[in-house]
């Protein structure tokens, strides 16, 4: 037996758990077409396992601590009563879909009346009834084979939001997906899966937030799939404020149609280690895609953003704006790859990553990458790393503003470059206040 244990591969506990869950415990596999997708996910995971720093895309972010935790997917819904007001954006005028440890909580959720045909539902519920759109899109653009986390999510996802906005429809108030972790178990694994299908000429503002009520070493491993039709207008704001003891890995797959206008924000403030993968495929002509993000880290936190923007068609604009504010011994990672296919002439792609280091021990690894196969394109990228400007601090002080306030004002302004791009006004205002409050709370400034 000892011998067998030594030979056990790192992926075995995950495979065993898959069998236990779906074969022995008989957990709901969903409709018949879904199980093969799950099965393909776990098979892929068996091949590749969790990423290692030997892989170029994971060079700066070592996820070995996640692999060392026991793997405990949370399969049972929680009936916890949670006061939502304690969390950010809970008071915004919005439809709220609340997920506790990855499971939809109808009693905590509030869905506002919608135009006919608009669906805001839990994925599990949608799977049990109306499968046509789901079957068409679930897992279609999310590449489960890309890395072990995506494969695991595909095998184990529990629930999430299914949002379907039919052609020409507008979801008037924002939709807020709140993911709240209450688990105290180390290694508890939460696998949210969201599918957003926005048909041509539809409009949607989506907030996706991650909070916790606990300090434990749980793991969130989320996937979003966005299928955005021609001329659809989408604003997506991901706000990650997980427990500082938790791990957060997420991937957003965006498949964008002709003339679409999409802005996706990522605010990464929480978690001990967070990794956000963004894969945007610009699959139609003349569309606009903005990826906008801000990471604020302290202590030993690590925040990693990894994005690939693929220009597959001509006349598209894509801009990435990412700012980082790093304190203490924390670490930021930014990897932005722009891939321009041969067909994608007249591409206008721009990428900027700016970093503010507030301590001598904070580090940033930033890696812009352009891969261009078309000849008539405009592509630029730039990265900066620096401290607060002494001249600016002196100017503020020379007008009577104390040094701490002066520093906060300048850091807030740096964050403001990103926050200002949030189009949903109440959301923008709350983010602005939030960043200011966090800066005031920071004893180091």
């Amino acid at each position: 037996m000892v011998h067998a244990a030594q030979n056990m591969r790192a992926s075995d506990p995950y495979l065993a758990r898959f069998e236990d869950t779906f074969e022995r415990e008989g957990a709901s596999r969903g409709p018949a077409w879904l199980y093969p997708i799950r099965k393909a996910g776990i098979s892929r995971f068996a091949e590749i396992g969790l990423p290692t720093p030997q892989q170029e895309d994971w060079r700066f972010t070592n996820v070995a601590p996640i692999g060392r935790l026991p793997f405990k997917p949370l399969w049972a819904p929680s009936d916890a009563t949670i006061k939502l007001e304690q969390f950010q954006f809970a008071k915004l005028p919005a439809s709220r879909m609340v997920f506790v440890n990855g499971h939809y909580s109808p009693k905590l959720s509030t869905i506002l009346p919608q135009e006919s045909g608009v669906q805001l539902r839990s994925l599990t519920e949608a799977l049990s009834s109306d499968g046509a759109v789901l079957q068409k899109y679930l897992g279609r653009f999310a590449k489960a084979d890309e890395n072990g986390f995506s494969a695991l999510n595909t095998a184990f996802f529990t629930d999430g939001a299914f949002i379907h906005v039919p052609a020409g429809k507008t979801v008037r108030e924002a939709v807020h997906l709140m993911f709240i972790a209450t688990t105290t178990e180390a290694g508890a694994a939460i696998h949210p899966r969201n599918l957003i299908v926005a048909e041509p000429n539809s409009k949607l503002t989506l907030i996706e937030s991650y909070f916790s009520t606990v300090q434990s070493a749980y793991v969130t491993n989320a996937i979003d799939e966005f299928v955005v039709g021609d001329n659809a207008v989408i604003e997506h704001c991901k706000f990650q404020d997980e427990s500082r003891t938790a791990y957060h890995v997420a991937s957003q797959y965006l498949h964008l149609g002709r003339g679409a206008n999409v802005i996706s924000h990522s605010f990464a403030f929480g978690a001990k280690l967070s990794r956000n993968n963004i894969r945007a495929t610009l699959a139609g002509e003349g569309l606009d895609c903005i990826l906008n993000g801000l990471y604020i880290t302290r202590d030993e936190q690590l925040a990693d953003h990894h994005m690939i923007v693929e220009h597959a068609k001509p006349h598209c604009n894509s801009h990435e704006y990412y700012n980082g504010i790093l304190d203490d011994r924390s670490k930021g990672v930014f990897h932005g790859r722009i891939l321009v296919q041969q067909e994608a002439q007249k591409t206008d792609a721009k990428q900027t990553n700016k970093n503010l280091l507030l301590s001598d021990d904070a580090t940033i690894d930033t890696k812009p990458q352009l891969e261009i196969y078309a000849d008539d394109v405009k592509c630029t990228h730039g990265a900066t790393v620096g401290q607060l400007n002494d001249e600016s601090i002196f100017y503020l002080r020379a007008r009577g503003i104390g040094i701490d306030t002066a520093r906060r004002i300048l850091i807030h302004a740096f964050a403001g470059e990103i926050i200002d791009r949030v189009r949903c006004e109440p959301l923008r205002e709350e983010l602005d206040r939030l960043v200011w409050d966090r800066l005031e709370d920071n004893p180091h400034l």
Binding site: S392, R397, A398, R399, I401
Partner: protein
């Protein structure tokens, strides 16, 4: 009885990185007075202004500076500002993302707090600011813009004097405020600075050229050469410099009484 001494510089020696710039400056400025310090490039004029405002990086090796009988050099830059010292910067800094109204309201309320006055709310601040903006002929949208961002050289200088008008300092140090201003803007600025003269305030103009002093008439003119004030006199000294040039002073230094 003579007016209260606002600023007293005693035998000030200072420099940067082992390079001596000021080599024994003496200067007494009383309430109600306007002084001008003139001098050729490299004489130490701007160093004097920077040291008064509290910029880091200068080393004072000898002498002292008293502001209303307090040791100015012991005070942080923000404390100096709150106590009424103001520097109109030669090169105002652009601060993207920091709203001008927010910045100036914060500054004004810090100073008001120190003076024991209640903080101004947004309405009162706006009313006051609009009033002063009109004096400086600043555009309406000015307060909505980021501090100095994208301003022309002249706009930046007018902004400095606008801030001075808002903060009403006891000691205003104007470092080369005339540079970058065309003649019309110079007149506007000079008019406001002159209006801000008061019996309990003092002004120190630092300038290379006499031009500014046609519009802001000083009570005293000092000539700084190679880190020392080599001649002091009335406003006519500026005119004399204008016709004869700094060479004349350099060749005919006349020690000022200590």
């Amino acid at each position: 009885m003579q007016n209260e001494i606002i600023l007293e510089v005693r035998n000030l020696h200072a420099g940067v990185e082992n390079k001596q710039i000021l080599k024994g400056v003496n200067l007494v400025i009383r309430a109600g007075e306007t002084h001008a310090v003139m001098g050729p490039n490299g004489s130490g004029k701007s160093t004097l202004a920077q040291i008064l405002a509290g910029r880091e990086g200068y080393e004072v090796t000898e002498g002292q500076v008293l502001y209303k009988s307090r040791d100015l050099l012991e005070m942080d830059p923000e404390e100096r500002a709150r106590e009424g010292v103001f520097l109109a910067f030669q090169y105002p800094v652009e601060i993207p993302g920091v709203n001008s109204a927010y910045f100036l309201k914060s500054a004004l309320n810090e100073i008001r707090k120190t003076r024991g006055l209640p903080e101004l709310d947004a309405m009162d601040f706006l009313a006051l600011a609009k009033d002063k903006m009109k004096l400086l002929e600043l555009r309406e949208d000015f307060l909505k813009r980021s501090v100095n961002e994208g301003f022309s050289g002249g706009e930046k200088k007018r902004n400095e004097i606008f801030q001075m008008a808002m903060l009403e300092p006891k000691l205003a140090v104007l470092d080369e405020t005339d540079s970058g201003l065309d003649i019309d803007a110079l007149k506007v600025v000079a008019h406001v600075v002159t209006r801000l003269k008061a019996a309990d305030r003092a002004q120190l103009l630092i300038t290379h050229y006499q031009r500014l002093l046609n519009y802001i008439v000083p009570d005293f003119v000092h000539v700084l050469v190679d880190g020392r004030i080599v001649r002091s006199g009335g406003k006519e000294l500026a005119l004399e410099l204008e016709t004869r040039g700094y060479d004349w002073i350099v060749k005919h230094p006349e020690p000022v009484p200590a």
